[in-house]
């Protein structure tokens, strides 16, 4: 069942990045053409793979045609296809938005961008834990470069923090992988799912330690409380297009949580069944609350966006923590809409608050007021979760899943009260930005507002609106994805079947 198309989302950015670095170092125009073309191709392939995954059967690609638990395997199921499509859409928007202004501020923006896409696409497709680590590193190395893109003293210090915390996270990841390997003797996720229920009782504690260390790593990536504090300085110091692309990096953490704790440590994991569930729900609620407090307290528009991203991750983690098909489907839907909305907000924040003089207050400069105010209004609605945009549908679905999972007493107050507070926070910021602008100390010289980000933001708002219009068909797909996640037998069979076939042929 090897399908060659699965390697394409990894191969395109890898080749493109190499070409950009080696052949087009000095031609910015050439870099732009190649990078946009490659990103469009990735989007097209992602759409194709999404259609392919729609048949409900997990597809695999064996690298070098080594049989599954021994070689590297890429797996495409509905979840991976959804995340790939989301990454493709987001990347296409971000690369367009970066053209014109931000890709001029330092060298190799497009090459780093493609390397980051290589890591993101690979992390969604990979079928074993060690390659998940490797793809994490690839996307992190590229993100370090993107984060520091353009330079500046403040960015350097924030970047040092960001890199240090992620290096510690990588170390913990390796400790977790080593512990799990020492107990089970495999790192292939499907193989782990088979072996974890049969681990000897004496080794259960070791395996549990490995599983929870892994959760710590994913908590860092997905900005789960108490490991969320690195995000606002890092994302708030970087360039807006990079921050917009980073909006999907937190989702890589959430994706890994969903993948590992439904497939390996899911309901069928014997004594360790659902080991992470008791942690995710409370941590999600705390993340949501702290993110909301951050939104209320922030004085820069970029900080506001960062904390609203943390709050949306909290909402997402709550949905994952409900541990039901309805909860997972709602989580996927919410992840798609919140990624697009927060990316658009990052781009808008870049237009609203030119870096100079914008650290303390909501800086503002007076061109395009009406357009920006309209964008802000719509995106605030999407981010807070008010009707009619998709954020409302997403939160409604999560509330509904919470009722079904009889967690009403905790989930409902958390989401409803924080939604109210988020409305207050966004409204306050909007009033200060647009109704009571106090210009920054030194008025920025009038300059042309770059048109590319404006069109991209408009496109992203249209995408969020489309998500709420087509919520029915989209939710059908998400529900199918969630059900596929909760019955991993077909995933395991699809990955391990070539091995059994090879064994039969060889003996």
């Amino acid at each position: 069942m090897t399908n060659q198309w699965l390697i394409i989302p990894v191969a395109i950015p890898a080749l493109t990045a190499a070409i950009l670095v080696l052949a087009m170092r000095y031609s910015l125009t050439g870099q732009r053409i190649v990078s946009v073309t490659a990103t469009a191709l990735q989007l097209a392939v992602a759409i194709g793979l999404y259609v392919l995954a729609g048949d409900g059967e997990p597809h695999t690609y064996l690298l070098g045609n080594w049989p599954a638990p021994f070689g590297i395997v890429l797996v495409l199921d509905r979840l991976a296809a959804t995340m790939l499509l989301l990454a493709g859409l987001l990347a296409f928007g971000v690369v367009l938005a970066a053209i014109g202004e931000w890709d001029k501020r330092g060298r190799h923006f497009h090459a780093l961008f493609q390397f980051q896409m290589l890591g993101i696409n690979g992390a969604f497709l990979t079928g074993d834990l060690f390659n998940l680590f490797v793809f994490f590193e690839v996307l992190l190395i590229a993100s370090y470069g993107l984060m520091l893109h353009g330079g500046g003293a403040h960015r350097m210090k924030a970047g040092f923090h960001y890199i240090a915390i992620n290096l510690i996270g990588s170390t913990v990841f390796l400790f977790a992988v080593g512990t799990i390997y020492s107990v089970t003797g495999t790192l292939n996720m499907a193989d782990l799912a088979v072996k974890v229920p049969h681990v000897a009782a004496a080794n259960q504690a070791l395996l549990a330690a490995g599983a929870l260390l892994l959760l710590t790593v994913f908590a860092i990536k997905s900005a789960m409380v108490p490991l969320h504090w690195w995000l606002p300085p890092a994302y708030g110091s970087t360039s807006p297009p990079a921050a917009a692309l980073f909006a999907i990096m937190t989702k890589v953490g959430a994706y890994s949580i969903i993948r590992v704790y439904t497939l390996i440590f899911g309901a069928g994991a014997g004594p360790l069944a659902d080991i992470a569930t008791p942690w995710i729900l409370p941590a999600g609620i705390l993340t949501l609350v702290l993110g909301t407090i951050g939104v209320l307290a922030s004085r820069r528009v970029l900080d506001l966006v960062c904390y609203s991203l943390i709050a949306s991750m909290g909402t997402l983690l709550i949905a994952i923590g409900l541990n039901s098909a309805a909860g997972l489907a709602a989580a996927l839907y919410y992840a798609v809409q919140s990624t697009i909305a927060s990316a658009a907000l990052f781009l808008l924040a870049g237009l609203l608050a030119p870096e100079k003089g914008s650290r303390a207050t909501f800086g503002w400069f007076p061109q395009y007021t009406d357009v920006f105010a309209g964008f802000y209004f719509l995106l605030a609605i999407a981010m807070v979760g008010m009707p009619p945009l998709a954020g409302f549908v997403g939160k409604l679905l999560i509330l509904d899943a919470g009722r079904a999972a009889s967690s009403t007493a905790t989930v409902w107050p958390a989401i409803l009260i924080t939604s109210l507070l988020l409305i207050l926070g966004f409204a306050r910021a909007g009033i200060q930005l647009f109704w009571n602008p106090h210009p920054v100390a030194e008025t920025p010289a009038p300059r042309d507002v770059p048109m590319a980000p404006i069109f991209v933001i408009a496109g992203m708002i249209a995408a969020v609106a489309a998500l709420s219009v087509f919520a029915g068909p989209v939710m059908d797909d998400m529900t199918a994805a969630a059900e596929q996640l909760l019955s991993p037998q077909r995933y395991i069979a699809a990955v391990l079947r070539p091995q059994t076939a090879a064994n039969l042929a060889g003996e």
Partner: protein, 123 residues
């Protein structure tokens, strides 16, 4: 040997964590290196400690060493080398741009944003 390795890994980890908690960039970088050495040795022992055995199944040998941890360690070492180089360069650059090697983020907004608009220098 188990005791020696375990206490060695423990000592490396403890030293690394202590150094990471200091306020200067240089100790933090060294601490990160210590942590990565610790994890490399840890990974290496994960295939069980076996002495004098080939890393492949061989009919003439009495057993074999699990080869996979070596592959994992190799990958981890390569990645860590790259990361260490990057963070060394970054901390040097941060030192040169800000004039000190303090890890703390300056909360004062005006120190960085007013004055020379370094963020906007196109290169």
């Amino acid at each position: 040997m188990e005791f020696l390795l375990a206490s060695g890994i423990g000592a490396l980890t403890a030293a690394g964590l202590y150094l990471i908690l200091l306020r200067r960039t240089f100790p933090v970088v060294i601490g990160l290196s210590f942590l990565s050495y610790a994890v490399n040795v840890f990974l290496f022992t994960m295939g069980r400690l076996v002495i004098d055995q080939p890393p492949i199944v061989n009919a003439s040998a009495g057993g074999y060493t699990d080869p996979l941890p070596q592959a994992l360690v190799l990958t981890a070492i390569v990645i860590t080398f790259g990361m260490t180089a990057l963070i060394v360069v970054l901390s040097l650059r941060a030192f040169l741009e800000t004039g000190d090697d303090d890890v703390a983020l300056d909360i004062q907004p005006d120190e960085t944003s007013s004055g020379t608009p370094r963020d906007e220098v196109a290169r």
